[in-house]
């Protein structure tokens, strides 16, 4: 075991995967010599050579399109999009191509590729370094979408994603890279080295896609969250004293329906916490899943806490970001209903 930040564990995942399988290649903007603007690929070019880890031209459609072609050839590309906000030029290759190649060829061709990207806000990045576009992937049949909340999961899930035979979108909450940010932006963040989930095996292991984790057991209310919002929800539960059961979804597609249903049937209440905008966001899907699977067990209306339906602002970041205060208020509100 070693203590790792999320950056180090993601790097370690690619390192282990590249060592294990010579078909794994890594490329993207600034990922080669420099090792990525967040340093997630640092050292990989030196270790594996520039045939397996290299800089790409600034073309997201090129990066994803080339990855699709390599995957079809038989490699397992793991590419980086510098920020999730920049994935859109590559969206056609995802929504029309990567997602459907297995289906339209009845399995003749497949796309075992992973597309990594930093996601989410909390760094004063303004509207083009803060977005959470996971719904745009989860809505496309044929893509898998993973969003880890800690170094341990990030490594295990990334290796599992690279080894998966379908295209996987791997979204890394950038505000969690160095510590479990809980939304209290005015306090220092505990570094991962002081957190149990910062303890990560150095070698090979996987965390299966499609399995949620219970971060806190509780009997009052189920909180459904992923990424940064897991830590915000944990803080809100501590601060309000509400005995919340906090489910970290880890992958939103495939979604662990059984874990969600079991918890909500047990607690009878549910709060959904998602950083992305509200309308048609993944929070709406979670709400529908709870209604379809647990309606007769509910003792209170389900509440969503999300980003507002505006572009992500710069100066008003903390009025926008769904922090522990808003989540705490939702927890109390859902408990008031008798």
């Amino acid at each position: 075991m070693a203590r790792m930040t999320m950056i180090e564990s993601i790097r370690s995942a690619m390192d282990v995967a590249m060592e294990k399988d010579p078909n794994v290649v890594v490329f993207g903007e600034d990922v080669g010599y420099f090792g990525g603007v967040f340093r997630c690929t640092q050292g990989l070019q030196k270790k594996f050579g520039s045939q397996r880890c290299f800089d790409a031209p600034i073309s997201e459609s090129g990066i994803i399109g080339a990855a699709v072609g390599m995957a079809v050839y038989g490699l397992r590309p793991c590419v980086e999009i510098q920020f999730a906000d920049y994935v859109y030029p590559g969206y056609d290759q995802l929504a029309s191509e990567a997602s459907r190649i297995r289906y339209r060829s009845a399995g003749e061709f497949t796309v075992p590729m992973t597309v990594r990207m930093p996601t989410g806000g909390g760094i004063f990045g303004g509207q083009t370094h803060s977005q959470s576009p996971e719904t745009l992937f989860a809505h496309v049949s044929g893509l898998k979408t993973v969003i880890p909340s800690n170094p341990y999961d990030a490594k295990g899930l990334l290796i599992a994603s690279i080894e998966d035979d379908d295209p996987v979108m791997f979204l890394e909450p950038k505000r969690l890279y160095n510590g479990p940010f809980d939304g209290h932006h005015d306090r220092p963040v505990t570094p991962w080295k002081n957190h149990e989930l910062g303890e990560v095996p150095e070698g090979y292991f996987t965390v299966p896609l499609g399995k949620a984790a219970t971060r806190r057991e509780g009997s009052d209310v189920t909180v459904l969250a992923y990424g940064t919002m897991v830590h915000v929800a944990l803080a809100a539960a501590e601060e309000t004293g509400v005995d919340a059961e906090i489910i970290d979804l880890r992958t939103i597609l495939p979604l662990d329906l059984e874990a969600i249903e079991a918890s909500v049937r047990k607690t009878g209440r549910c709060v959904i916490v998602v950083e992305a905008t509200k309308t048609c966001g993944f929070s709406a899907e979670l709400m529908a899943v709870v209604m379809e699977g647990c309606f007769h067990h509910l003792e209170a209306p389900v509440i969503r806490v999300t980003g507002w339906d505006t572009p992500y602002p710069h100066a008003h970041e903390w009025e926008y970001f769904p922090g522990p205060k808003r989540v705490g208020a939702a927890l109390k509100k859902v408990m008031e209903h008798t």
């Binding site: 903007e29 600034d30 080669g32 010599y33 420099f34 603007v37 520039s50 045939q51 290299f54 800089d55 790409a56 031209p57 600034i58 073309s59 997201e60 459609s61 090129g62 906000d85 920049y86 859109y88 030029p89 004063f124 990045g125 303004g126 509207q127 083009t128 370094h129 509200k278 309308t279 507002w308 339906d309 505006t310 572009p311 602002p313 710069h314 100066a315 008003h316 009025e319 926008y320």
Partner: protein, 414 residues
Amino acid sequence: MSKKKSEPGSLSLYVPEPECRPGDHPDFSEMLIPKAGEARKPPVDVDPMDIHDLAYSVIRVLNKKGEAVGPWAGELDDDALLEGLRHMMTLRAFDARMQMAQRQGKTSFYMQALGEEAVACAFRMAMKPGDMNFPTYRQQGLMIAGGYSIETMMNQIYSNELDPMKGRQLPVMYASQEFGYFTISGNLATQFIQAVGWAMGSAIKGDTKIAAGWIGEGSTAENDFHSALVFASTYKPPVILNVVNNQWAISTFQGIARGNAATFASRGLGFGIPSLRVDGNDYLAVYAVAKWACERARLNLGPTLIEFVTYRAGAHSTSDDPTGYRPKDESSTWPLGDPIERLKAHLILKGEWSEERHTQAKAQIESEILQAQKAAEKHGTLHNGPHAPAGSMFDDVYKEPPIHLIRQRQEAGL
């Protein structure tokens, strides 16, 4: 690094590498630098087929001694040159102040144009009121040379209560209809095709206005660059397609976008677009080429592509440290020199300027910038406020807020 000659069955991938990395001695000896004055100047209605050579050469006016030579010289009088010098010095002083303000925690982020001041400053002087630029984050020189208020730029950088963008955008993402500065996007290259569309609009309406699109050499890899060339070559609208080749795209050298072959200017040739390459650190050359292209556009002769050969002397942004990927002294060995020093030398040679006047002007500009900074800071900085009212975050998503936004704003208590 050249691709090895291979036997069948032993393919390998060619990955371009820069000449030097940290620890190496910077070396630009491979770079083609024609003598100043050497490049010919064709008439503006030239057949693009006849000027292919200009896409591979470098149009230069100022020679080593500081003299203006050749057919592209003589476009600017002394007053205009002195004004140009002042614009570039203002831009440099402004950048240095704002860089420092970011370091002092007064804002989140900053991007300098250090070393490439001549490109935007000189180009702006060839444009007219009503024309529109679609810039990147590194063309603040268009604002400064256009006479936009420095204090207002600072208000934007601080996201303070007077920020015209109401705190919504990252620093340097200015916008002004009046000053011909289209709102900056963080998403690279999107503006390039929009510039073409704007110019098509002007043409459709039988207007007289022209547009300039701007893009970094790294971003020419994006699809929008290629879309812009197609539309510009098909409809021949009054647009100038500017590629600022400052050698670097964050840590990525220009060979990754270009493949170490051809030039960025030559990208235009396949589309039949007249394409010129110019010394971007030569104020006189930049202006002359800009004027040539603007004239073509105004005469309804269609688009021009220009590659400005320059060097990003500073870090990519305040989030970047270039010592991790290029030699420390690479910028000081850049063979095309510094744009301010070169114009200054030219003016001194002409007897229009002196070291003393330069030192005085520098001090005066710096004090003006400092005054503007003090005035801006009275209206707030990023972390200390005041900002636009937080509720204004919900404005301008649409012209009229739909009911769900009205409710969300109430829920937010703003």
